[in-house]
Symmetry: C2
DNA sequence: CCAGTTCTTGACTGATCAGTCAAGTCGAGT
DNA sequence: ACTCGACTTGACTGATCAGTCAAGAACTGG
């Protein structure tokens, strides 16, 4: 019933693209509306505030873009070491793809916004924490599997999963700062060395 | 000659404090002026723009607060492993101190602003890159020393230094996101494990 | 075809933004 | 003691900010 519209989806996509490529604070509601081809009145019909839009855009990005990739990367049928390798490769591939199509290594959108807004918006902070927690959980499960089958030298899977995740965030940040996706090639090397697993093809 | 003033220093300190605790974009020139007790006209007497102030504040922060600590932490007379331990401890100590006095784990100011403004201001990006490079250089020298005297298992000191630095940035970000300085305790453990050096007191 | 609901439109608010400026104040060097 | 350059002051600009609103347009279910 009522009048159908795709404005909501267009706003979510535009918000993600702009915030990811720039920053939360530097992107205005007007910017998002222009990019989405939607008038501001419509914006506020769908979202009560810019903050709400950002939270929704993150949730949408996870469900639509990240979850499917992670399900494939961390599929239980794969050997644990291969899952970790696929994870590193997926990060490299995504950042390189964005670099080639948009001219900038964008880094991790959750980390960027979390770093920018963590002390300023409790809602955004919690959302980012939630998103990153999901990634860490997948890593932890993988490390536990690798520990069990002896393919990895891991003492404390929970701590090591957080360590790997921190390393990935840090290297993504380096790549963004130097605007060079090739920096991310080191992620795979360093991670495998860290797990004392022999490096595969 | 002319009229003496400490407005410049007060502006640099206020800018660092506000930007570090919040973000670059969320801090206005007016905010900085109020915090420094300086009128806006004086601000623009000393700095041509907000961007210039930020760059100067970073340089000042490095020279006044960080350089002296790093000189002590990475002093060549110390055993390399001890230098690394002192580096981890210094990071923990600084973040914890800010947490206790201001209520928030602030993270690394260079990383936060670099992440926020890297794609938006080439000058800020370059400044942050410069600051972080200096830290990586100290690490690299230490790893080379540790490699030479056999106290560390390091193959490629340059790559490993970048890796350690990325790990520190990542864990600082986790600590900021969870607003819990104790997260940073894992830095020392993970770093020492990564260098395959036995953990000291 | 009509009634009810959803969505769109464009003009509007008041606050805040970075940055400007001219006139005034102060003090150090002579 | 006076002058000249360095600093201060407060009022100002025009742009942009997030968010509001009332009126109308378009679709659907009955």
């Amino acid at each position: 019933m009522g009048r159908p519209s795709d404005a909501r989806d267009k706003l979510l996509q535009a918000a993600l693209d702009l915030i990811w490529a720039n920053s939360y604070g530097s992107v205005s509601v007007d910017d998002i509306c222009v990019a989405a081809g939607v008038k501001k009145g419509s914006f506020y019909h769908f979202f009560p505030s810019k903050e709400d839009l950002a939270v929704a855009a993150f949730e949408e990005h996870w469900a639509r873009d990240i979850e499917p990739i992670l399900d494939r990367v961390f599929h239980p049928d794969r050997p644990p070491v291969e899952r970790i390798e696929a994870w590193c490769d997926a990060i490299y591939a995504e950042q390189k793809e964005r670099f080639q199509t948009r001219g900038h290594v964008p880094g991790c959108p959750f980390a960027s916004v979390g770093s920018e807004m963590g002390t300023l918006s409790e809602r955004l902070r919690r959302k980012v924490e939630d998103m990153l927690e999901r990634g860490i959980f997948q890593l932890e499960r993988t490390l536990r599997d690798g520990q069990r089958d002896g393919s990895m030298a891991v003492v404390d899977p929970a701590a090591k999963a957080r360590c790997l995740h921190a390393l990935a965030m840090g290297i993504m940040f380096q790549a963004k700062l130097e605007n060079d996706p090739e920096v991310l090639r080191s992620l795979r090397t360093q991670v495998l060395e860290l797990l004392q697993a022999p490096q595969g093809a």
